[in-house]
């Protein structure tokens, strides 16, 4: 396997970051090269106003993608900051009404981290566990909501296993109970349809680089933002509705807007491609012994496939798979050698978790890439399994 002569890089780590679309790059370069546009968007002179017009155009493009009012969208540095601002900002704003918060055990670190912080600050956090499919039973949520519950935060598409939560049902439960609902939609915006005129979501985090936009820019949707439900977590300026200070990065925001515009036109086509790649993937591994899908197959974003091969060490598998770019879990957790908390919550043991690999496709992935990836994967798994210890008295 390691001697395979096909050495081109194949990127299947789209859940970590998507390749920036050429049209996005072009728009950003055009902005950076345009001296007429060089200005701080907050400046009141003509160039500043021109820059602000571009910002507002991008805000419009992104709002259109999620069918939200553009006045309800603020720019941030990415989904991590959006999550921090939404969770910490709203919890602190409402602290006088109660200090009980609800989230799930399978959230991304960018959500669980702020909750850990709030817990240290005296808030009480209930962490709901999913079923073995990674999905939340909303009956659990109804039971967990109390008189003093102020915020529920549950992600839309799980970054490790692709499980899609029934966000409409979850948001409706929160609306009925009068509890604020935040959704980390970093993995879903631009990939599946989100209509915030229909979904009763109060706060929604968005990341540009998860849907072919630039890294380092994101947004937070705040329903009826003019009423201000958040306390800022950073201080030093009035940009972005007094909630998020800092100079707006014009070229990144322009790229973000173009990525949103492209997502509007390509989303359906992209989703069809993801479904085709996923079906092709499973068709190829269907008859292989002891390869299992982690998480739900019924409610799963098809662009993320997380499988395990017991009897194999994931780190050795990853090395054998190079130059294929796949992942053992969240990239944001890769410096931590602890096994994936998401897979553990599905009921997998350490051995099963460490034998798991996530394949996540992009718009550029082809069936040929899937064939190549699986050829390498199957060969590597067989190679490692062949050398599995024998006659063990466990």
């Amino acid at each position: 396997m390691i001697g395979n002569n096909r050495n081109r890089k194949i990127y299947m780590d789209g859940a970590a970051t998507m390749p920036t679309d050429p049209e996005v790059i072009e728009s950003m370069l055009a902005c950076l090269n345009n001296k007429e546009l060089f200005a701080n968007p907050s400046s009141v002179h003509a160039s500043g106003r021109d820059a602000m017009h571009k910002i507002e155009k991008a805000r419009d493009q992104i709002s259109t993608l999620i069918n939200a009012n553009k006045e309800d969208l603020i720019f941030t540095s990415g989904a991590t900051e959006s999550n921090n601002l939404a969770i910490i900002g709203s919890a602190k704003f409402r602290a006088n009404n109660g200090k009980h918060l609800i989230t799930m055990t399978t959230e991304h670190k960018a959500v669980s981290g702020p909750f850990d912080y709030l817990e240290e600050e005296g808030f009480e956090v209930t962490r709901l566990r999913p079923g073995t499919d990674g999905l939340l039973d909303t009956k659990q949520l109804k039971k967990a909501i109390r008189e003093d519950t102020q915020l529920v935060s549950i992600m839309h598409i799980n970054n490790e296993i692709g499980a899609i939560q029934n966000i409409f049902e979850i948001a409706s439960v929160c609306e009925d109970q009068g509890v604020l609902f935040h959704c980390d939609a970093a993995q879903s915006v631009g990939k599946i349809s989100i209509d915030l005129k229909k979904l009763p979501i109060d706060l929604l985090s968005i990341s540009a680089h998860k849907f072919y936009g630039p890294q380092g820019i994101g947004a937070l949707f705040i329903k009826e933002a003019h009423k201000v439900k958040l306390l800022p977590i950073t201080h030093g300026g009035e940009q972005e509705m007094w909630v998020r200070p800092g100079t707006l990065p014009l070229h990144q925001i322009i790229g973000f807007g173009v990525a949103a515009k492209l997502a509007m036109t390509r989303m359906r086509e992209d989703l069809v491609l993801m479904e085709d790649l996923s079906n092709h993937f499973f068709e190829k591994i269907r008859n292989l012994p002891d390869i299992f899908l982690n998480g739900s197959d019924k409610s799963r974003y098809p662009g993320i496939v997380n499988i395990r091969a017991p009897g194999v060490n994931g780190e050795s598998l990853l090395l054998l798979l190079e130059p294929l770019c796949v992942a053992q879990g969240s990239a944001c957790n890769s410096k931590n050698s602890e096994p994936s908390h998401v897979l553990r919550e599905l009921g997998l043991n350490d051995h099963e978790i460490q034998s798991s690999i996530r394949f996540s496709f992009t718009r550029d992935t082809t069936r040929d890439d899937v064939d190549f990836a699986l050829e390498k994967y199957i060969s590597a798994v067989n190679q490692l399994r062949k050398n599995y210890p024998s006659n063990i008295n466990e």
Binding site: I2, G3, N4, N5, N7, G311, V312, N313, G314, E315, S316, L319, E322, P323, S337, N349, D350, H351, Q354, S355, Q383, L384, K386, N387, Y388, P389, S390, N391, I392, N393, E394
Partner: protein, 134 residues
Amino acid sequence: MSDFHKKKHDIYSSYLIELFARSDYSDAKDSITTNHYEAFAGDINDNSFIQIKCIADDKSIKKIRYRVIGCPYLMASLEWLCENLENKCINDIEKITLIDLMEILKIPSDRRSIILLLEDAVNDIRLQLIKKTT
């Protein structure tokens, strides 16, 4: 080895990659099936478990092979170990200082337990061979 694996790796040393890719002493490649000594170490549930098998006469190890489930550091360490133990006099086994592998293969300090696994298995094999000769 592919050209890609010949490239400098930012996590693993080139020597480690070479040993990992080579696996000449893997029991899957050239198996030992009969009249052998064997030792196990590690925990299969931790995804870190080794099996060492060898054929020996009264004086030396004639053939030694390994089976393993583990990370690239462990796999490369076993390849190195077997290369250094094959044809070695039984009395010289003790002279191999496994802790040097940390430097030779650039094993990070948080993976020190790999050395303990190897030491356990080597010691087990050595005691079996000494017992046989006395």
